[in-house]
């Protein structure tokens, strides 16, 4: 047996609330966070709705040196709040024995929000209509005048990591990975490996992302990946339903405090759960499509189950990737059947994306937190908007209403655009 890795803190900032308890109540109540997009005017876009974090959210109430974080992007703002909640819950704000060189960070955070207005204006100002291209000398002049150094640097994907490192004085191993929608699941998995190996005592792991901006929605709309049910947005996220037409873009952050069992025991921390298994794979098929057999998804699940040393029939809840795209939900179902065989139909599966949308890089961390809460409360969050199941999706997706269940072992899936897949096993 390798060194057990425990979860001692969780925190999140999501469209369903900016603290764990609110988010959990809303998930169990089957609340939809989907609204018309207010971060920018998307009223004429093919998709005019998203799941957004409340505009009342203010990261400054969570940080002790606001001047270090002045001008941060939404990613970093969400990351700081989620991490501070997890840090406090873990009791680390009142623990002075922490070796900061053995405090690490592994995040799966996305690119920061583009400074779109100034970017678009600079590009248009430099457009040479005759030659049909940018005049880079004019562009430099326009961009130098309009763009701001902090706003530009904050777009680097390792900035949430950098802000967390400053805030929590973490000198240990520090990584940001960006495997699209799988990123924060991967971050938790790799953080677990760092702790198992003994390269850190405590890791802050999770992710933060917002693609709720002009070019984010543009990009996903062009890929026809988003639901376009502008008239019925509250029920637009319909994982596993026959009429699903794409995912709903969300944003936010989820953070976990992971530590070695030994370190948690020594400082008398309350253990919320354990990360016992992790698997990572690549479909190696197409950048636009999952492999139709679900081979990459199945491989990640199998590796995680084997890593945890649990039996397939011990898994009693699956937090699905469940995006609500035609392709994902049927292939994920096929992969689950491949891994679990006859038992597949008796394992409850749900997709909280039906309620809070798809947090992209941050999705996996928030879903892992939902698993921790399911383990704690023996309740499973539902998949809402599931009134007309797709015949190809014929498993138990905990439709529409939360359920009581004895939960000891959870499996959480995240599959990235392009074919990178990650799975975690969480246990009581």
């Amino acid at each position: 047996m390798t060194q057990p890795i425990v979860i001692t803190g969780i925190g999140c900032v999501t469209p369903l609330g900016c603290d764990v308890q609110t988010v959990w109540s809303n998930l169990l109540a089957g609340v939809s966070a989907i609204q018309p997009t207010f971060h920018f005017d998307a009223s004429t876009f093919p998709t005019s709705f998203t799941a957004q974090v409340s505009e009342d959210y203010d990261y400054r109430k969570y940080v002790h040196r606001p001047e270090w974080h002045e001008g941060i992007s939404r990613n970093s703002a969400y990351a700081l709040g989620a991490a501070a909640q997890a840090w406090r819950l873990a009791g680390l704000d009142e623990f002075d024995g922490l070796d900061r060189e053995r405090l690490g960070l592994y995040l799966g955070s996305g690119e920061g929000v583009l400074d779109f207005d100034n970017y678009a204006a600079s590009n248009l100002a430099a457009w040479d209509d005759e030659r049909g291209r940018i005049d880079s000398v004019k562009w430099a002049a326009a961009a130098n005048e309009r763009m701001d150094a902090v706003r530009e640097i904050e777009q680097e994907p390792n900035m949430p990591l950098s802000h967390l490192a400053m805030e929590f004085e973490a000198y240990g191993p520090a990584y940001n990975c960006l495997t699209a929608c799988a990123a924060s699941t991967q971050a938790i998995g790799e953080a677990t490996q760092i702790l198992r190996r003994g390269d850190a005592d405590v890791m802050i792991a999770g992710g933060a992302h917002s693609m709720v901006h002009e070019l984010g929605v543009t990009g996903f709309n062009r890929l026809t990946a988003l639901s376009t049910r502008n008239d019925s947005y509250a029920t637009a996220a319909r994982p596993f339903n026959r009429t699903r037409d794409g995912f709903v873009l969300g944003e936010g952050a989820g953070m976990l405090i992971l530590e070695t069992q030994q370190h948690a025991d020594q400082r008398g921390a309350t253990v919320l759960g354990r990360i016992t298994g992790y698997g990572s794979s690549a479909d190696a098929f197409r950048i636009t499509d999952m492999h139709p057999s679900g081979r990459g998804a199945a491989s990640a699940m199998t590796q995680a189950i084997n890593d945890a040393g649990v039996q397939r029939d011990q898994v009693d809840y699956i937090s699905a990737h469940g995006t609500g795209t035609k392709e994902n939900d049927s292939i994920e179902t096929k992969a689950i059947k491949g891994v679990f065989g006859e038992r597949a139909s008796s394992v409850p599966i749900s997709s909280i994306k039906s309620m809070m949308g798809h947090l992209i890089a941050a999705a996996g961390a928030v879903e892992a937190i939902a698993c921790v809460l399911a383990l704690r409360d023996h309740k499973l969050p539902p998949t809402i908007n599931l009134h007309d199941p797709d015949p190809e999706c014929d498993l138990d997706y905990v439709p529409n209403e939360a359920r009581d269940a004895s939960v000891k072992v959870c499996l959480s899936n995240s599959f990235g655009f392009g074919g990178q897949n990650d799975t975690l096993i969480l246990e009581k």
Partner: protein, 480 residues
């Protein structure tokens, strides 16, 4: 030669907590890992032979920016690669996909191809007949081949995007010519190709590489500025050590030779804006006269293999390894006044990574025979590095040669650590310290190597990389 140290996986190797015996947990032996393929694509050439030749001559890739007219920018020089035909590095069956490869992706794909061929790996990417032959047997089973590839923030092609943006201009009235979000949502976005977003997702570097080479094992995309490639190599090392894969592609690639990424670098305050007329001497890393970095572009992907599987195939095919990786460390530097654009001046953050790598290698600092440092040539970063080195190596520092390569290839962002690592890996079997340039006035007591290249007894080589954001990765290579 001392025997290869045996390491325990899962044990605690630090010095403040009891070792594995006290924890009561059983531990598995960490597998040993060798470097078998090098794929550099930088301003010095394509592939290890041409790149190394250029290094021996101390050739500099820095010149006036070619990719766009940079005369409006404070800096007008860069280390570029020039045009190259990506199709040459992609099997016929996959050439259609090159349309959705941004330059960053193309650099990674080319570098991975060169690395796989250098290692002698048979994959669907390196064997042109793989698709026609039902009995094709790759060197490694797809599930045992992984990919950890560092990437940067990929800037959209301005011409392509703006050609669509102009369709959303206000046609007349007082705001004529301005961007109109309503027109954009209604009509403008349709002028972007449907797969537009996929050119700019950082994980597409790894995804294309895994598809081309059928690498279905563990896969990650690390985005930590100049530490990206070093951390990715470290992650592949760990994945192979713990037995989750037998071989991995790793490293990183990035191009900042486009107006948006170039401007962002200038905005960090780290770029040399005073030597536009002297490109060849503009990047002077770790010297008293360092006056800022020069932006570069490049991809450096390498192949790592488990010693046991490598030895098996070496017996069959005569494959050779460049060096063994015996130590890796990762750390974070904290410097709030610079918002972590620069490492802390004491060098504490950098020193932590270096010390961890030395500890895993079970060697003393003075066992290191050569250091390929980060050496961005940004004075604040350079001074932090010098402080870290002094801190770790103490009195031994003046006797250890340092070969910073950014004077030749610039700072290639996520690709930067790939070049550092490749130079370190090639120097070991060559037993040669390459020539670096612009090194005549070293900072403090640093022993910067100068031309010409010279032979040396290289048993252990250290390289470390990092920068913007404060993450650092250190790797120790051992003669094999």
């Amino acid at each position: 030669m001392r025997p290869a140290p045996v390491r325990c996986y899962g044990s605690y190797v630090g010095d403040r907590v009891p070792s594995q015996g006290a924890t009561g947990y059983t531990v598995a032996m960490a597998r040993q890992v060798v470097i078998t393929g090098l794929g550099p694509v930088y301003g010095l050439g394509f592939g290890i032979e041409s790149t190394w030749d250029a290094m021996l001559q101390g050739r500099c890739a820095i010149g006036p920016v070619q990719a766009f007219d940079a005369t409006g920018f404070d800096c007008t020089i860069a280390a570029e690669i020039g045009e190259f035909k990506i199709n040459q590095y992609v099997p016929k069956s996959y050439r259609k996909a090159t349309k959705v490869m941004s330059r960053d992706i193309g650099l990674a794909v080319a570098a991975a191809d060169l690395a796989a061929r250098d290692a002698g790996l048979l994959t669907p990417g390196t064997d042109p007949d793989a698709g026609k032959n039902d009995g094709f047997e790759p060197t490694y089973a797809p599930s045992r081949l992984g990919a950890h590839i560092g990437a940067g923030l990929i800037a959209a092609d301005l011409d392509e995007l703006t050609a669509a943006l102009v369709k959303a201009r206000v046609p007349d009235g007082s705001n004529a010519g301005e961007f109109d979000i309503y027109r954009w949502g209604n009509e403008g976005i349709n002028h972007l190709t449907p797969l537009w977003l996929l050119k700019y997702l950082p994980n597409m570097l790894a995804c294309h590489v895994t598809i081309i080479h059928d690498a279905q094992g563990p896969s990650n995309t690390i985005t930590c500025g100049e530490a990206s490639a070093g951390l990715s190599i470290g992650e592949s090392l760990r994945v192979i050590q713990r037995g989750a894969a037998d071989a991995c592609f790793c490293g990183g690639a990035e191009s900042k030779a486009n107006p948006m990424a170039f401007l962002r670098q200038i905005m960090t305050g780290r770029v040399n804006t005073n030597d536009n007329d002297k490109p060849e001497t503009a990047a002077r890393p770790l010297t008293k006269t360092a006056d800022g970095m020069v932006v570069g572009e490049g991809g450096g992907i390498v192949v790592l293999e488990a010693m046991e599987t490598f030895e098996q195939r070496a017996a069959d095919t005569g494959a050779r390894a460049y060096a063994q990786i015996v130590g890796f460390g990762a750390s974070q530097s904290i410097n709030p006044p610079t918002r972590n654009v620069h490492p802390d001046e004491s060098g504490r953050g950098i020193a932590i990574a270096i010390r961890s790598a030395l500890r895993e290698a079970e060697i003393d600092p003075n066992d290191i025979d050569l250091i390929v440092p980060t050496g961005l040539a940004a004075p604040v970063t350079d001074r932090a590095e010098a402080a870290a080195l002094r801190n770790v190596f103490g009195a031994a520092l003046p006797s250890i040669p340092l070969a910073p390569v950014k004077s030749l290839v610039g700072n290639c962002g996520a690709g930067a650590g790939g070049m550092d690592f490749i130079v370190a890996a090639k120097a070991v079997p060559e037993q040669t310290i390459p020539a670096v340039i612009n090194a005549d006035q070293p900072l403090d007591d640093l022993n910067l190597t100068t031309a010409p290249a010279r032979e040396a007894d290289l048993q252990f080589v250290l390289t470390y990389s990092g920068g913007l954001g404060g993450q650092f990765a250190a790797l120790v290579l051992r003669k094999f």
